[in-house]
């Protein structure tokens, strides 16, 4: 049982991972993540890469929606901007992959800032509608700006190559996605210990009082949009390298809802929530697929109803979490931790 956490310095108090137990488990996690590609099969690595991409994008959306309080339903479209940037750069200029990813992030950040422009005037649901509108307009651009995006037939992307190594299998891409994910998630966690991140939280809690306290609203809201889009852009770029073909249909509107759902299911406004939500929402369809595989000898048309069942479970998860566990998986995780901290006594 832990009685209390003794802090002797300010640095210790502000540390991201404040207890020794936590740090020890993090080392275990890191070792496990590094060891994963050597023990897992191709399918699990594929899932791991996909989860990594989703975590980056969800963390980005969490910065905007969970921490700044601006609801966006355009995250998938922003990912599309990143994916197309990578595809075009790779195909036309052949620039190195890491540079492409960086440029994809910057490009998407610019687009995101433009979409965020109405955010000073409109709030809440009107802003959500504005982002829906932006995502449909972006979709239109993808489908119809044929000279760049190759229209509905899309662009094939060459495999990423870093330092002369060609990363085409999930096993190789994992080593690109994992470090990027780790760096970006840590950066996001750190952001909320800085002046800028604190300003975001102040805006979320009450934007007018934030303004009274001297936070320039427009600048910070645009910054939040740009940052969140940067994450989406990098995730989209990785997506392009992962699936190797980018079409306008790759980033449908439901995909945006998927990310918002991941933020909600995971827990709005916590970094851990974004991670847990992305993992959970990515794995649910796979588990369903597995269940269909088990059921198909008993239920002959199990495969046929897979897609609608997926839609239903998706909706039911959103409803269920919002009604019964509004703080999401992160809260469940916190409860579990507290149980072990207080163990012989009841919480």
């Amino acid at each position: 049982m832990r009685i209390g956490t003794l802090k002797e310095t300010y640095a210790a108090d502000e540390a991201l991972f404040d207890t020794a137990t936590q740090r020890a488990w993090l080392v275990v996690l890191a070792v496990a993540l590094v060891a994963l590609p050597f023990v897992a099969n191709e399918y699990f690595l594929y899932l791991a890469c996909l989860v990594g991409i989703h975590i980056i994008s969800t963390t980005g959306l969490n910065i905007l929606t969970g921490f700044t309080g601006l609801v966006s339903l355009g995250q998938a479209a922003f990912m599309g901007v990143g994916a197309y940037t990578v595809a075009v750069l790779e195909g036309r200029l052949g620039t190195p992959a890491l540079l492409n990813l960086l440029l994809a992030g910057i490009m998407t950040a610019l687009v995101g800032a433009v979409v965020g422009l109405p955010s000073l005037r409109v709030k809440g649901l009107y802003l959500a509608m504005a982002t829906i509108a932006a995502s449909f307009i972006l979709h239109f651009v993808f489908a119809n700006w044929s000279s760049v995006t190759n229209g509905v037939s899309g662009i094939n992307v060459a495999p990423a190559s870093v330092l002369g190594l060609t990363l085409s299998r999930p096993f190789a891409l994992y080593w690109l996605i994992l470090p990027l994910m780790a760096v970006m998630v840590l950066a996001a966690a750190n952001l909320f210990r800085t002046r800028i991140g604190r300003a975001f939280i102040a805006i979320r809690d009450r934007d007018i009082s934030a303004e009274v306290l001297g936070i320039p609203l427009l600048r910070y809201k645009l910054m939040s949009f740009a940052l969140s889009s940067f994450y989406a852009g990098v995730a989209g770029g990785l997506w392009a390298y992962f699936f190797r073909v980018v079409t306008p249909e790759s980033f449908p509107f439901v995909y945006s809802i998927f990310f918002l759902a991941a933020v909600i299911v995971g827990g709005m406004g916590t970094i851990l929530g974004g991670i847990l939500g992305a993992i959970f929402m990515t794995m649910v369809p796979e588990v369903l697929k597995l269940m269909v595989g088990v059921l198909s000898p008993i239920l002959p048309d199990a495969v046929a109803i897979l897609s609608p069942v997926r839609t239903i479970v998706f909706g039911a998860l959103i409803i269920g979490f919002l009604i019964f566990e509004p703080h999401g998986l992160a809260e469940i995780w916190r409860r579990t931790r507290r149980f072990f901290h207080l163990w012989p006594f009841k919480t």
């Binding site: 609801v71 509608m129 504005a130 449909f136 307009i137 239109f140 007018i208 839609t311 009604i323």
Partner: protein, 294 residues
């Protein structure tokens, strides 16, 4: 090439026909928003369920049209009541964004259920309006569009009268204006919430039957709700007249853009309109401007 005025006129009429359906859906939307402050993104799916109920009653059970339509309306109203009671009521007092996400979830569940029950393939509703054309000053208009337009207008007019004169309508408006005051005047506010959802469910089901009759039904027809959403955002979330004017704007712009520029420009045109309106008037054309104080 000179401009074909007759063709333009025909397109405009078709757009107006669509606008009437949009207005009916928008009305259902405004009704829920006014009474309960819930932005209901599932309105398109409620509309789809209404259309499918009608389909089951006529094609499945073989009921005559004049029985099937009221039955579908009752079904839609029942759906609204159930949704309000089981899902929206527990969310009372939560922040607007959570409730809005819950309705997205409802939409997803309804769509999946419809796909399981009725199959994913698009079908046509049994023809109950008759084919043929109606000519208005030489201009050809499909008979279905004319009937849809007339019925929508009649229903909207009926709704407006009900809100103006019926006790329940007055209770609804009182609740919309000030919930606490309405409570203290003896209005049963939770009942008003249910009432709003029942009426909205019926309006959506009616709109669904009309939309389905014109364009066929499929589980994906909930997308129509997105256009209706644009309508109410353009008009202002809490204004019935705004919804009507927004519907006419969106209906016409969709028809013109779809015909003269190509089908893929439809969504682009409506959403560009939305962005434009939001930039100029953040609360829609006729919406109430919220004043925020510390």
């Amino acid at each position: 090439m000179d401009f074909d005025w007759l063709f333009f006129f025909e397109v405009t009429l078709a757009g107006l026909g669509n606008a009437a359906l949009l207005a009916l859906t928008g009305l259902a939307f405004v009704l829920i928003y006014k009474a309960t402050r819930v932005v209901n993104l599932a309105i398109g799916e409620m509309l789809m369920v209404g259309a499918y109920l009608f389909f089951s009653f006529t094609a499945g059970l073989g009921l005559p049209t004049y029985v099937a339509i009221p039955a579908a309306l009752v079904g839609g109203g029942f759906l609204g009541a159930v949704l309000e009671r089981t899902i929206i009521r527990p969310m009372l007092g939560e922040n607007a964004i959570s409730v809005f996400m819950v309705t997205i979830g409802i939409g997803s569940v309804l769509m999946g259920l419809a796909e399981i029950i009725w199959g994913a393939a698009p079908t046509a509703l049994p023809d109950f309006m008759g084919g043929g054309a109606v000519f208005i000053f030489d201009a050809y208009v499909s008979r279905k569009v004319v009937i849809g337009f007339t019925v929508s207008c009649a229903v909207i007019a009926a709704f407006l009268l009900v809100f103006r004169f019926w006790r329940g309508g007055i209770a609804l408006r009182a609740t919309a204006t000030d919930q606490a005051a309405a409570y203290s005047c003896g209005i049963n506010v939770p009942a008003v919430f249910s009432l709003a959802w029942v009426f909205a469910g019926m309006a959506a089901a009616g709109a669904g039957v009309l939309v389905g009759a014109v364009g066929g039904i499929s589980p994906a027809m909930g997308v129509f709700g997105l256009s209706a959403l644009v309508v109410v955002i353009v008009g202002g979330l809490d204004s019935i007249s705004g919804a009507l004017i927004g519907a006419i704007l969106v209906g016409l712009i969709e028809a013109w853009a779809g015909t003269f520029l190509g089908g893929e420009y439809k969504m682009l045109a409506t959403f560009s309109l939305l962005m434009l309106v939001l930039l100029v008037r953040p609360y829609g054309l006729f919406g109430t401007v919220e004043i925020e104080r510390l």
